[in-house]
Amino acid sequence: MLIYQFVATAQIPQVTDPAEMAEIVTRWITENPMMWLSSIIGILFMLWSANIWVFGLKHARNLSTRNAVITVAIPVLAYIAYTVWQLGVLS
């Protein structure tokens, strides 16, 4: 829905310069609130998924709750950090 909202309202500029095109794409990503919203919601769903993975890993591998949380938290935090970093760098 967010991607649809983003694409539907996007204005395609008539540019021929590659450097100018890159600048436009960067501005699309960093200045469009839809992209920020999409990232935030993605992080929320990732947290929800992580919660499910904690219980799944706990019972599948007979891990303690603490160890399951640590196991799941590593890739999830890495993903969240990468997502935030990407938005921060582009902006």
Binding site: Q11, P13, I41, N51
Partner: protein
């Protein structure tokens, strides 16, 4: 019979040359002719009087001892002739005297005195005219109305009211709007006239005076007279009048590049040639490809043409100067500048979060937090 020959000869000379006469019929020598150059002097002019002295005796030579010229009003610049020499039978010699005219006009009679051995002294009065009349200059052709920036032809006529021919007649002006600046007319006979045309392209409105000078030579004496032509320059009524209509400014998302489109119309009565539209490069405004400038070419009266221009502006620029250049029928360049306002159009990228999406975000967040809390609580 022998004494009648000189007399008949003199009569013949009088018939052919008006200026010729006989001073002394009994003398063995006589002045058979004279010449004043220039024919008519102007005040303070320098001229020459040349007399022809002839020995009328066919058998005996005569020794000329002195020749001089006397006059009060005219100043004689040359010195008298002394011991001129012997003049053979029936031979003649020309004697020239230099004179300077005074400041008064009229007819003067300098007296030439010739002395010879064994002959009577000859005293001969020569009429010399002094006339201060100068050449006249008038306007022969001039347009009824002169318009700024439009070339007009001014034809002047130079007349010679003097009784003699003048040479080296040249008509000149120092006005930089007039071409050519000088026209050489050459010799101008008495009561004759010659015309010269000048192209005048006025640059300023209002009253203007063109100064012309006529230079000429009377003999070896240079003279000049000036002439003023008062003119009134009006604003052109028939010139091309270019106006812009239907201006549309399209912005490009993401970058401050605008496409300016519209129509350029010729509301004047004359065609505009070589019409070019371009973005005037000022601070913060940069013309961009593909249409940094737009060539329209010939734009006839009551005609129009579409145009398209691309420009990139800085964020604080609110208007773009659009420069229109064109030429008239004579090739005179004109230019005018129109300010095109650049209205910043909000794009979807720069807006705020929509309220509906914020609500969705909050609901999703609440649901997820609730689900997570519920899953931990259930355990």
């Amino acid at each position: 019979m022998m004494r009648l020959i000189p007399f008949l000869l003199v009569l013949l000379l009088v018939g052919s040359v008006a200026a010729q006469s006989v001073e002394e019929q009994k003398a063995a020598i006589m002045i058979t002719s004279y010449q004043v150059s220039p024919e008519v002097l102007m005040p303070n002019d320098i001229g020459t009087i040349t007399v022809t002295v002839k020995n009328m005796d066919p058998m005996e030579s005569v020794k000329l001892t002195e020749a001089s010229i006397l006059e009060r009003e005219l100043k004689v610049l040359s010195t008298p002739y002394y011991n001129i020499g012997r003049l053979g039978p029936a031979e003649s010699v020309e004697l020239a005297f230099t004179i300077r005219a005074g400041y008064s006009e009229g007819i003067f009679y300098p007296r030439v005195v010739i002395e010879a051995e064994g002959a009577e002294i000859i005293r001969y009065q020569i009429p010399v005219k002094v006339d201060g009349t100068v050449l006249t200059l008038g306007v022969n052709k001039l347009p009824d109305e002169l318009y700024q920036g439009e070339r007009a032809t001014v034809e002047l006529v130079v007349g010679n009211p003097r009784p003699n021919t003048v040479t080296g007649v040249a008509l000149s002006t120092a006005a930089r709007e007039v071409i050519p600046t000088e026209v050489f007319l050459g010799t101008l006979a008495s009561d004759d006239s010659k015309s010269a045309s000048f192209n005048f392209t006025p640059e300023t409105l209002g009253a203007e005076t063109l100064n012309f000078a006529v230079a000429f030579k009377n003999g070896d004496n240079a003279h000049a007279t000036t002439f003023q032509v008062p003119l009134t320059v009006l604003a052109s009524k028939k010139s091309a009048e270019l106006i812009l209509t239907g201006i549309e400014v399209e912005s490009t998302a993401g970058v401050s590049v605008y496409k300016i489109t519209g129509d350029i119309n010729n509301a004047g009565l004359e065609a505009a040639r070589s019409v070019v539209l371009k973005i005037d490069e000022v601070a913060g405004v940069e013309p961009r490809d593909p249409y940094k400038s737009y060539f329209v070419g010939l734009l006839s009266p009551d005609d129009f043409s579409s145009f398209e221009l691309d420009v990139k502006v800085d964020g604080n620029v609110t208007a773009v100067p659009l420069l229109i250049e064109y030429k008239d029928e004579e090739g005179n360049p004109f230019s005018l500048t129109e300010q095109i306002s650049i209205e910043s159009q909000p794009t979807s990228n720069s807006g705020e979060f929509p309220v509906s999406l914020i609500a969705v975000l909050v609901i999703v967040a609440v649901v997820i937090v609730g689900m997570i809390a519920y899953s931990w609580k259930k355990r």
